[in-house]
Symmetry: C2
Subunit: 363 residues, 2 copies
Amino acid sequence: METRLGEYVDEFTRRDWQTLPPDAVEDPVRLAVVGAGWFTAEWALPGIERSAFTEATVVTDVDADAVDAVASGTDLTGVPPEAFRAGEVAEEYDAVYVATPNATHLQYVEAAAKQGKAVLCEKPMEASPERAERLVEVCEDASVPLMVGYRMQTDPVVRRLKDLVDAGFVGDPIHVHATMSQTMLGELTGDTDQWRLDPDLSGGCALMDIGIYPLNTTRFVLDADPVAVSGHTRTEHEAFEGVDEHADFRVEFPGSVAAMCTVSQNATHASRLEISGTEGRVVLDPAFYEREERELSVERGDVRMDVEVDPVHQLEEEFAYFGHHLLTETPFHPDGRHALVDSRALEAIYESAETGESVRLTE
Amino acid sequence: METRLGEYVDEFTRRDWQTLPPDAVEDPVRLAVVGAGWFTAEWALPGIERSAFTEATVVTDVDADAVDAVASGTDLTGVPPEAFRAGEVAEEYDAVYVATPNATHLQYVEAAAKQGKAVLCEKPMEASPERAERLVEVCEDASVPLMVGYRMQTDPVVRRLKDLVDAGFVGDPIHVHATMSQTMLGELTGDTDQWRLDPDLSGGCALMDIGIYPLNTTRFVLDADPVAVSGHTRTEHEAFEGVDEHADFRVEFPGSVAAMCTVSQNATHASRLEISGTEGRVVLDPAFYEREERELSVERGDVRMDVEVDPVHQLEEEFAYFGHHLLTETPFHPDGRHALVDSRALEAIYESAETGESVRLTE
């Protein structure tokens, strides 16, 4: 038995999806990076660099200074967005990573699809389900692969959590609790002049930007899609006028499994996911942020085990998965159709917050 | 600063409500115990015995064998319930503790009130708000003090949690998560022939029996009453036919603070309470059971502190508080009017589970 535990520990952070060894890669997937904000600079570009399956070759942004800041001193070709969309440097990349404000994803994905390039689009996929659907169709019509950047799905701790639930560790899942919160104005940029506060660009704030983590991660771990949602939003701080500062929502999965979720852009930093069932309980805390330790706690019967794991570089894992699957021509799990379910659920939660009614999701 | 931490640790389990020293008590409050089930035998009678402010003198139950089992080899006077209600041994007790099935509380409280005895009634106070209200009125009309057995309110860890929230440790509370679950048929009695499965005797199962812990403890810690509730119940296992096996519910407090709660009579043992706010986060896990360690976790800024505390004997604390407040003629916090708020909220959650609508609570 102790051998099994040793193997479990040793293989905890394995890439179960990897069939092509990184050192066999001669020509990594060349990426054009669209959007040169802080997340690109601090997380995406380092992730692309660390991944053996990808390399960044082109960068674009409406902010020419941001492009310069990212490209200077590197081999990156910086181009204005018009030139990028016109395909002027299309021979320099094989795929496009889109990390711009939500409501601007579509135009870049349309350009990439027209150029025949594979797409990795940040989540949420777009600012509304209608635009998200167009985005998916554009890729399908052009037969370009589309992955959506759900970095939790390639985090090994989350994959192990899913493995445990798949293997019946908790028995039948009964309840999920999930929370994610941050002080957006302090912790991140300290800046109220940002697109997440503009509903036209973001499509929403706490629920759209953060709510998607509990929602999608629960879907991934349970391997199930929502059948009904309800929720509430609220805004108190004047900086959040016109968008949702806090949100709470309930997602019902098949078999009446209920996920109780809370998110906030203006509360103390926290993130946690708990799944409890007829037999056991698994908890990930911290759960959702890219920049902190992972702790997985598993409880069944009289025993609880805590697994503390140094964080992987989540963006390295995400880009490695993207590049690997392109090179091996393997379909992505978090693809456009998968992401559309979130777009529709988020809109339904906003609708519920307006009407006070639960919304059933049918497809 | 280190002195302050030392004082905090040393005084963590203090009885902040105690003005009369236990060793000053010459004549403890004499209690008649109504209901001789496992909780009385295993928890209430030892609690009464341990408390310097109380002693048990009389026991009654519809089950004469249970009375014998509890009374034999002790000084307790065992009487049939008819004799008890008729006041035949009323000179042997000063107060009455009622721990029978929910729907039978009223008849014993009526008898106690008629006899002019103070009452400690188990929660939920009765099986419906109408009967709960009659119970409160009976005591008020007879001018007998009525306390309801919310043992969380006298648990020092919960009181420290409340102190932290009162002192602004979390800033403005934003979200609450609470869960409580057990395998009622396995963990407790293994018996499907029990009153909690009979809706006429219990008024409900998971929500009524367990939901009251997250609900009341959140009210206590936030020092606030619900303004709106919604919820869902479900039943899968045949043993729970006619009652709720699982329930999830949302309680909205003033200022739109949302508490997301899940409870189950047929899921893995767990109990947890989390309150997060604009500044910090406090978590109690385990939270609600009488028979386990307490761990309080407090987080603010970059620091998290875990306080592990040996459990007090919760029933000793509850009976000590009851006896102490009777001897010092101090009003109880968890009194009948306080408990009525829970009765109404629980009924409103059941109503919401039927209609799918949120229910506003007005007084």
